[in-house]
Symmetry: C2
Amino acid sequence: MGVVLNMEGSKGGPASVDRLVGLTRSDMARVNELILSKAGSDVELIPELAKHLISSGGKRLRPMITIAAAQMFGYEGENHVKLATSVEFMHTATLLHDDVVDESDLRRGRKTARMIWGNQASVLVGDFLLGQAFRMMVDVGSLEALDILSTAASVIAEGEVMQLGVSKNLETTEDEYLQVIKAKTAALFSAAAEVGPVIAQASRNDRAALRSFGTNLGLAFQLVDDALDYGGKASELGKNVGDDFREGKVTLPVILAYRRGTSEERAFWKSAIEENNCDDAALEKAIGLLARHNAIADTINRARHFGEIARDALAPLEDSEQKDALFDVIDFCISRVV
Amino acid sequence: MGVVLNMEGSKGGPASVDRLVGLTRSDMARVNELILSKAGSDVELIPELAKHLISSGGKRLRPMITIAAAQMFGYEGENHVKLATSVEFMHTATLLHDDVVDESDLRRGRKTARMIWGNQASVLVGDFLLGQAFRMMVDVGSLEALDILSTAASVIAEGEVMQLGVSKNLETTEDEYLQVIKAKTAALFSAAAEVGPVIAQASRNDRAALRSFGTNLGLAFQLVDDALDYGGKASELGKNVGDDFREGKVTLPVILAYRRGTSEERAFWKSAIEENNCDDAALEKAIGLLARHNAIADTINRARHFGEIARDALAPLEDSEQKDALFDVIDFCISRVV
């Protein structure tokens, strides 16, 4: 299963975020400290649950993007650390609520918080982290950054609600689906990237460039995630192959296979997705249909398209290590499909 | 059942919020418009669910307090309307998440949103309303008001998590319980009251007065709510008598009766609250024990104590119609127990 892509990192080796990690290392150390301190509370359950999430080995891609985007425009202060932490808290709050909404058992190969502490704690600690995110933004004091991030918070929630409607609907068009993931995934990448130039008081054009980079990177990221769900290795991805299928999620691979399929095939998809006939045999059949119609490969082609837009968004900016590191991120996001 | 109090409104009649309603009428009309417009979304489910909440007949006490508190210091702008709407959205988001956490079926006598649209939509629309609340605050542009309201958002969530820990624990002390309700209920009343003088650029003392008024009013409000749960009329209160009991919630009446009870009585409470033996017969017995130990009357006495503090907080302020209207609110909150 899975699709092998020949993506190359800028050093000729496999694409990786090593360069981004290196450039942001010392700032990210401060982000990690701030995460621990702002997830602190006298209410024991909060730091306990937060520690679980924090140690669960996410890549911290979004806050690293905020840090790099601020560095890129010569920012020399401490506020990028606070905003990066806010971004990560917003992301974590979303994950907590998502796992409740999706009734997920595993996240990155580990039990989800809701499986250990219950749905109640997951909803409420998510609310707490969101509150803390806003407090840090307020502490930064930039109304522009506040505007960008609070708008993202609304848009993400709106996207999640939109997804509920799409969830079992096989007639969803590709356009409608893109609208959902633009809201639920790309909006945070976009905000994470844009607040960097904003606090560095960079130009309007620079802000727009980073915003566009973030949006398109986010779209590419989500599409690759959708593809991986039908072909990645559970251990690497931290979720099981077929999770989306079993949850009846209509993602781009399914949309393509359904639209390209015969009427018999469409009947199969309806039975699987709409009526929950999604056992292992059905998953195997689904994966076969996806292959027959090039649905995975074309999902990745679509991702590559958005990756190109992200790349061109950054193109006119002055060369810098940060710019190269962000190019790497695009390659990395797409080359995850191995 | 129930406890009759001889509270008098300032005109000698029964206490009511009529004066507050009158003073804030035209501003509240704009709050209501803003609520409808900011709960709007192309994602149909959002306005649909929001309309359900909006039409469910809450008194809008918190936004009226924000409006009156701004008027009181001569505020002449439009931002109080936006902040009042933010406050109401924060409150609504909390209710949506609470109903999911408590698995409640009824709220103000009507089916809860989660019973109609499911837990998923309730969690996500709550997140959306919270995001919209922050966007409106950002739009107002007062970092002080943002600080107050974002801190309240964190504190409320922290209080809700704290309550999970208290929920089935009969050894909870009165102090611990007060800490919970100070966070989960009083923090929003406090913030709602304080942002009025903040945007009116009133003095530090005026801000502190309104903050203290809000905190203590909130405590009184919650304690009366706790008392009503064991003696109010479901139709008026919009919840059923004994809801807290059946959910195993440890509230002040129970804390008092438990601490004052015999060892046999304590065994009964343990069985009822900790082991869910809370059928109608148990509820009847519980109500008998609460009466025997004056637990309801003393809960109301505690509420009256906080009402007095709220009153004294406002006392030094210049006389105004708004001040009288806020005094009425204190009387009203306590005299709900009829």
